[in-house]
Structures are given as structure tokens and as C-alpha cells.
Subunit: 175 residues, 2 copies
DNA sequence: AAGGAAGTGACAGTGACTGACACCAACTAC
DNA sequence: GTAGTTGGTGTCAGTCACTGTCACTTCCTT
């Protein structure tokens, strides 16, 4: 979508607050009205990989072996999504800079990851995990993955999966 | 503040989307402009206990005994804040209903609790806890407290602190 | 009494977002 | 082939969240 690219450019060039949706639309060669037919609001342009991510991760939970404990299911979901992260790397980096500079976008980012966590919880409960346990597992998994992910983008050398395992041990050590 | 009460009433009566900031101001007996001198935006009226909460919790971490491990510090912070939760109970309940019915407010709520987590992380690192460990502990603590808090509002019978301990064991069992 | 700080009202302006209607392609049915 | 349907778009008008600016009051200080 050209709107996405246009927004990415403009937000990077002059900042989120200083760009109007009308400008984004203009750079993409369409009308402001058309912009709002594709994205719900000014922020949403930067957050539409989410749906695919959610599907991949919930599918990973749904199709995992029966023997796995809840937290492993969650971690499995995250590692199943690593191809998406790797593929989206170049865009994700530009995006991250913009979000880091814009409180309104950070808010949306938190909402998205909260929604993702809810989706994982729902995938777990559909497999029979009781809801309170599912909540705890999903949030623990998110914490573990965030920790691993930070280490990953920091060094960018190691394998993500092994970093996840390592972070799990760290969490275990904390409890 | 009368603006807070006015907003609470109007959001409950006709819903968040269907009330204007102008109406809130009018019910409080002031101008819309005055509303925006007190609150940054239409959502913020419902979220200003946050500052006090953050101070109490970070102070609890800063003033705890030296021997406590990171996760205990975080849980200590949450239990230190329970008087605030108890005191704010009646308002919190009305507030919760409104937030549950309004995606925009849920977004803000997530942002607030993320900001709180960041504050706890910072309080931990100021005590010498390395940042990655602090992040993990803060997020684990948040997960534990959420679980305990849900059980608390559900039954409303038991002591919150013991529910926190119980939730900690649940998390330990998951790892 | 003079002056400064803090809170407010009035007013004008920008920009995000919505609803309604018309237009134009491409594809389907008959 | 023509009619109708579907999906994407432009246009226009309108609402409302939010901001900058100026003037005014009140209260507190010196």
C-alpha cells in the first residue's frame, strides 16, 4: 500500500504531529477521504501487520501438540512468528524510530500488544486452559519474549529461540 | 474536582463517544477551554489518580529493605498501593464500566499501566537492579498483581496480599 | 498601593474524522 | 450485448477535539 509508505516517509521527515492525514493522502496520490477508508485513524497506518501476526500466533497455539504446558504454548506462538519479524525488519526499524518519538503512537503500540495478548489468552482457553492460568501464561510469555527480543536487536547475533529459552530461565530464577 | 464527577456522570449516561468536552465543562460550570487547562484531552479526566499511585509505588521500592529480591520489591510496591485501591473503590467501579465500554479509554488505560511499569523499572534500576532483570521483574509483578486483583474483585472476600502470594506460586508453577 | 501569579472566559483557528451522494471501473447474469 | 452488481474513489459539508492569544479577575506579596 502506497499510503503506508507515504506515512512512513512523512512521519520520519517532519514528525507525526507536524504531518496531516491530508498530506499523507496527497503523497500517495489519493484523497484524505480515501485514506480514512483504508485506515481507521491517523495512527493506524503504522499498525496493520498486527492482524497477520495474531493469526499466525493463535494458529500456532491451536495446532501445537497436546502435551505442551501453557507457557510453552505461548512461547511456541512467539517463535512461530519470528519469520514475520525477520521479514518485516527493515520497515520495523523505521517504524520503531517514529513510534519512539511519538507518545500517541506508543499508546497505540501498547494497545496492539495488549490485544495480541488477549488473542493468545483466547487461543489458550479454547484449548481448555482455565482463563486465569491462560492470562498469567500469556503475560509471562510476553515478558519473556520482550526480554529476548531486546537482547536480539541489541546483539543481533544469536538465535532468537535460544534467547527465549534463556529469558525463560531468567524469569524462573526471579520467582 | 467537579470536572471529574461531571465526566463520570456523562460518560456513564450517554457513553463516551456521545458526550462532548463542552458538555462536561458545562455540567461542571466552566468553559471548555478551562477543561483543557486541567486535562490534556478528553480521556485524561478518568486517569489522574495515576500520578499518586506511581509515587506511592516507587517510594515503596526505594524505601524497602536491601535484602529483598527484585520481584519481591515489585510485589511490595503493589501491596503498598492497596490502600489507594480500597479508598478509590467506588469511583473505580463506575470508571471500570465506562472504560470497558470504550476502546479509546482502554487504550489509555493500557498506556497508563505501561507507564507505571516503566516507573517501577526505573525505581528498580536506581537500586542497582540491572535493567533487563528489572523489566522482567516488573512485568512479572504486573501479571501477578493483575491475576490477584481479578480474583479479589471477583470474590471480594479474601485479603489481597495473600492472593498476591498465591498468584506468585501460580506463576512459579507455570515456569 | 503597586505588582505579580494563578485561574478563568471569549474568540478564532486548525485538523482529525464522518456521512451522504455521485461517479466509474470490472465483473456477472441473462 | 445489456443490465445490474460490487468495490473503490472524489467531493462536499459538517462536527468536534484541541490550541494560541488576549483580556479580566482574584488573591497574595512587598
Amino acid at each position: 500500500m502506497r499510503l503506508r509508505e507515504a506515512a512512513l516517509e512523512l512521519y520520519a521527515e517532519r514528525g507525526y504531529d507536524a504531518t496531516t492525514t491530508s498530506e499523507i493522502a496527497a503523497r500517495a496520490g489519493v484523497t484524505e477521504r480515501t485514506y480514512f477508508r483504508h485506515f481507521a485513524d491517523k495512527r493506524e497506518v503504522l499498525f496493520d501487520g498486527e492482524a497477520e501476526l495474531r493469526e499466525v500466533m493463535t494458529a500456532a497455539i491451536a495446532s501445537a501438540e497436546d502435551s505442551l504446558p501453557p507457557l510453552s504454548l505461548v512461547l511456541r506462538a512467539y517463535t512461530a512468528a519470528t519469520p514475520l519479524f525477520v521479514a518485516g525488519r527493515p520497515v520495523a526499524e523505521r517504524r520503531a524510530r517514529i513510534i519512539a518519538a511519538t507518545p500517541a503512537l506508543q499508546e497505540r503500540a501498547h494497545a496492539k500488544s495488549a490485544a495480541l495478548t488477549e488473542a493468545l489468552i483466547s487461543a489458550l482457553t479454547q484449548r481448555g486452559v482455565p482463563e486465569p492460568t491462560a492470562r498469567l501464561a500469556a503475560r509471562a510469555g510476553a515478558a519473556i519474549f520482550e526480554r529476548a527480543s531486546r537482547a536480539w536487536t541489541g546483539t543481533s547475533a544469536q538465535d532468537l529461540t535460544s534467547l527465549v529459552v534463556q529469558a525463560s530461565h531468567e524469569l524462573r530464577a526471579l520467582t
